[in-house]
Symmetry: none
Subunit: 415 residues, 2 copies
Amino acid sequence: MKADIITIGDEILIGHTIDSNSAFIAFELNSLGINVYRIYSIADRKIDIIITLDEAIQESDIIIITGGLGPTNDDITKKTLMEYFGGTPVLDEFSMEYINKLLKARGIEATECNIRQAEVPDTCTVLRNRNGSAPGMLFKKNDKTIISLPGVPYEMKGIMYDEVIPYLTNNFSLPVIIHKTILTAELPESGIADILNIWEKKLDNNTRLAYLPSPGIVKLRISISGNNKDQLKLKLNNHISYLSKIIGPKYIFGYDDDSLESVIGELLRNKKKTVSTVESCTGGNIAHRITGIPGSSDYFIGSVVAYSNSIKKDIVGVPRELISNYGAVSKYVVEAMSVGIREKFSTDFGIATSGIAGPGGGTKDKPVGTTWLSVSHHKGVYSQVYQLGDHRGRNIEKATIYALNMLRNAILEFE
Amino acid sequence: MKADIITIGDEILIGHTIDSNSAFIAFELNSLGINVYRIYSIADRKIDIIITLDEAIQESDIIIITGGLGPTNDDITKKTLMEYFGGTPVLDEFSMEYINKLLKARGIEATECNIRQAEVPDTCTVLRNRNGSAPGMLFKKNDKTIISLPGVPYEMKGIMYDEVIPYLTNNFSLPVIIHKTILTAELPESGIADILNIWEKKLDNNTRLAYLPSPGIVKLRISISGNNKDQLKLKLNNHISYLSKIIGPKYIFGYDDDSLESVIGELLRNKKKTVSTVESCTGGNIAHRITGIPGSSDYFIGSVVAYSNSIKKDIVGVPRELISNYGAVSKYVVEAMSVGIREKFSTDFGIATSGIAGPGGGTKDKPVGTTWLSVSHHKGVYSQVYQLGDHRGRNIEKATIYALNMLRNAILEFE
């Protein structure tokens, strides 16, 4: 079963609005085992709607259209669909009732424009909109199903859940597709590709792997399609176990919707441990990530952003001679920082970062991107140097991810 | 001049990723006076790429493709374009140098996979990628221009700014369009719309206003098109002066590419002043924003993320009885925090935040979203309470923006 999605609206083509509706619809269709073939964004123009509908009907079984159902003159989807599929306008009682209720609350009478909102072509099946005045519409043409929904996200989502998904489930015999995403940190995309190369080449046509990279992180999404859900689950789990083994737990921090900071939060909460951070090059980003998780105050005590050396010395207690002998970006200073913050803030774990984020500040011995990270706990202190790139923002992001993953591994090893 | 945009990547069709690249490209093309006709999202599948290219080449003059240029097996755009446009692979020296530099920093040799990354068909013009290993490519076919860019947003944006926009400007005769963006903080979109209502209604057809909102910030982009650049500039400047006056300098923090943190950085640098922060509800995000600016160590000394009350007392010096009498989220505590950090870190300005970011922790008197912000300097201390929303991430973001704008106004008033 194949589907196309068509988003209608000038605001997308002029770049003022990011089309998030399509991603939602695509996700829901895929979950039902319906493959999305193409997503189109087109203008509020009759001829464009007709051309695109013609194409979509030729290539797919189901077409879901969003947008252009509003009451203003530039919303022409309904008029165009009435021309395309034929029919005459009839009043949809459910929509008219909704509109009247709205107007009554404001103490005004329905205008012609309001009534037009509640009219649909008699060639369609109405899809009830419980969150707005524009009804959804379902048309059939040569065994193809064409669905028109409003562009307002919560109205569109309401009709999808209330009407479209039940309709598709009841009227089509759908295959089963299941997905799982492995979340990795620190490894580059090409490094993972090398590890997975032999496995990837042996995959059958029903199994697909997608690499989704962002600074410091690569997500691996595996999708399997077929008929028997239990068999697919077994197959997927076998893939996941195998990949988890060959990539290794040091780099895999979670699955699906996990984040490094949510995984760390759960580990700390379960082990009843606390953490504090002292950040130089990451400038507070590690604390920002950790405190993005609701309830993080249970295990996150606080942080010092030690940007100047005097703060490293006076607040965190790094010995003056370490800084003067080895420089702030050094193994000795970063270790003294992570040990110092752990003691000062009385936490079980301490994290420290000290690096040259760039673009300035590099030297021959310590070029831009040189970054020392450290984690300490009651049994000792661990540190590692990384050579990141020359882009400040990405260096900060990568150092944050690497430090959080270092902490995650330290918590796992911690007895 | 018409353009199509094609986004290639399974992750969009399975609904895993929202296509934000297209909005960026559409926005930039529109800014050049190039109309975007259709945006397509398609899978990493050869046949789909070819069918869509055929269609796009028929309907538009310029086609910009993103995605599918990674080193992994699912990235097949380059292979497909080489088939489509003909040619044989040649090594692009610039890309190979970039890759070798990266690998050298990690102490490893180039693999076959790395070298393939740097190869391009000899039928294309290379568009240099300064932020990644996948080069952009430009092909010509029957007077049509086809451009292929990586899908990683910062790499795509880099090539757009460095290569694509200059190419389009130099090789096509485009209408004159000029833009300027006013950057505002704290005011809601609807509040600004009310202020601008009368002015907006009087605009002619060649003048367009776009509202671009994000948490705590609304950007107002004014575009004017015509023939005479000097006349347009004069007209645009008149609009900008008028709007700046009616919105007011308290809320306007900059123009175009400014950011609150870059504006603050420049002010502090010019006045030779320093700042430190103590953050509770913002969890380090203010420090993270300030230190995102290169050279911020000149005026940013450091920060304490005081998540637990013990840190507020022991490190920042907030009197114990203020916390027990008024609670951590109160005028007295947030002021003691901003004064405390300023003294402790010996800076000219101190910023403090204390609020209930949510979703838990609210009470009847202090519901989720209650946020106290404070700025202190040698003449005194200022604080204000805000009622933000019930979404943790947005509350943190808004509190950060409001605090930075409070600091900006304090620096401007500071003699």
